[in-house]
């Protein structure tokens, strides 16, 4: 079996190449059914239905973003009522003296809700994906450069309880994977 990276460094996992989205999809179904847990498939674009093929649940990002949006909304509420009603009361709108009138506060509540939701969506996504990072074991493998072009890959990590280099290699071969390679760290 070929190897990539520094062969005296610990093994990250075993990876295989596939030629099409369809082959990758069916390979993922079989790896899922074989009961592996620390593995991933890599593709140049998101493949429709791959989450089910891998047995992954829906991303929880949406729920996190709700709280980001709530924070934005409450920030606006505090900022607007805190300053216009208490710190520096402005007697405009809601006359004669209703300092707690709401409608004119809506636009900024809306904008800050959107702003903090968007920040949460982007930075939440990056954190959940473990990004940004400058390097990764998979980048030691030259063929892996094609993942952003037109090739498809599977990697089963050595931390998986069912991992053993030999059996994983045979398994990936039986799925139709080519260029099966052991990936080492630096």
């Amino acid at each position: 079996m070929e190897a990539a990276g520094n062969t005296s460094a610990p093994v990250y996992g075993v990876a295989a190449e596939f030629q099409s989205a369809r082959d990758l999809y069916h390979a993922a179904e079989k790896i899922r059914d074989a009961g592996f847990s620390k593995w991933d498939v890599f593709s140049p674009f998101p493949i429709h239905g791959m989450d089910e093929a891998m047995g992954l649940k829906r991303s929880i990002l949406g729920k996190v973003v709700f709280f980001g949006g709530l924070t934005g909304f409450l920030t606006a509420v505090t900022l607007e009522f805190g300053t216009s009603s208490f710190l520096y009361p402005l007697i405009v709108a809601g006359k004669p003296t209703n300092l707690y009138t709401v409608p004119a506060f809506f636009p900024i509540m809306f904008e800050l809700t959107i702003l903090l939701s968007a920040f949460t969506a982007v930075f939440g996504m990056l954190i959940m994906n473990g990004l940004p990072r400058l390097n990764h074991e998979l980048f030691n493998w030259d063929r892996f450069k094609k993942v952003t072009e037109d090739k498809f890959f599977v990697a089963i990590e050595s931390t998986d309880p069912k991992f053993s280099p030999r059996s994983v290699k045979d398994f990936l071969e039986s799925l139709g994977g080519t260029n099966i390679t052991t990936i080492h760290g630096d």
Binding site: P46, A53, P107, N129
Partner: protein, 469 residues
Amino acid sequence: MSQATAEHPEQLTEDDKKLVRQPLVLNQRTMGWISDYISSIVEGKTPAWWWVSMGITVPLTVLCVALLGYLISTGVGVWGNNHPVGWAWDITNFVFWIGIGHAGTLISAILFLTRQKWRTSINRAAEAMTLFAVVCAGIYPALHVGRVWMAWWLAPVPNANAIWQNFRSPLLWDVFAVSTYFTVSVLFWYTGLIPDLATLRDRCKTKIRKFVYGVLALGWRGGNRQWRHYEMAYLILAGLSTPLVLSVHSVVSFDFATSVVPGWHTTIFPPYFVAGAIFGGFAMVLTIMIPACAIYKPLHDLVTIDHVDKMCKIILLTGSIVGYAYLMELFIAWYGANPYERAAFWYRAFGPYWWAYWAMMFCNVVAPQLFWFKFFRTHLLWVWIIVQFPNAGMWFERFVIIATTLARDFMPSAWGMFHPTWVDVCTFVGTFGLFTTLFLLFIRFLPMICMFEVKAVLPEADPHHGEKH
């Protein structure tokens, strides 16, 4: 229609043939070709036309910056703004540029939510256009405040006099709306760029490129465990941007609509401003995409005539909405029986700025009607010529709304005319230089078409491609 019939055109009747969906990517281009071609625009030698174009646009940008420096060092009086036209070219240009940006967000967010897959080949460039248009727009209100070094008073931080901002003011809403819009547009654009930056990173030959694109790609690996959060984030951003883009131009219209000035104080403003913004923005998208595709000819396989045709239809639709709004304004001015409102619209059409009003009417309402004809929607030169009318017309619309209204309000003793100075004119011309310079830099250094999304709409991207149903 099933894929099987579409692949066997010989079995189709003439009527069926018209119904077969055109493929989104022509000439059966492969994934490898898409990466190679789009990246080659960034990786190849800088073409001569690029230097020539930069040779024109960079001096214009310098002119813009120099005149802004002149304005800051001398005072806002170097512009023609004066009583009674205190909002003049600067606010006209602000609304003009911010409106152009809106088509980018429409393409990237609203067409994404409505699953219009044809958007994939134009969304990147349109989003970039949004950002650059908002940069040009932001200059004007910031400088319009007069003493620009006091602009931080707009930020909700306590100042030395313990005075806080008036959060009930549409002008402060505008600050929040535009700055949120810019920030969210940057996030949306950058998120969309990450997988494509990874493509550039993986193709790099030189050390400097490897470092720059490597850092910018944030270590993206394209694993499905990443894609699933990524797609969710993209969906959420699209969902957030859609109400945001509608709110931004509504808030911009509130700057006018919440005042009591005749001609401004109308409830039709928010929808009419939003439709106008999308109208003008699509015209600008076509204005820059048609030449870009003429220079890079193979792009015609990605940005097809079908795309242009669809965008022309959107221009026709929004242009007709705008035309309806113009007529409805006139109707309400008459039907509302408010003499000041009637006078305001009378002076728009027949007052001292009649030429601006009729230029607006012709450019925005009459000229786009040519797009009812397929011939004009599918011949690129014609499309390019016709979309120049909305570009100009939308500028005239803002000028009509702002300058003619202020020049003729309640009291004849307070009437006056606005005359732009050479600084007004040259600054505006300079913003076109800035916009184009930023766009040229974008074409040169970033992939102008979203490679991963175009790959995802190819037939072979379907995990069940070629299987029996």
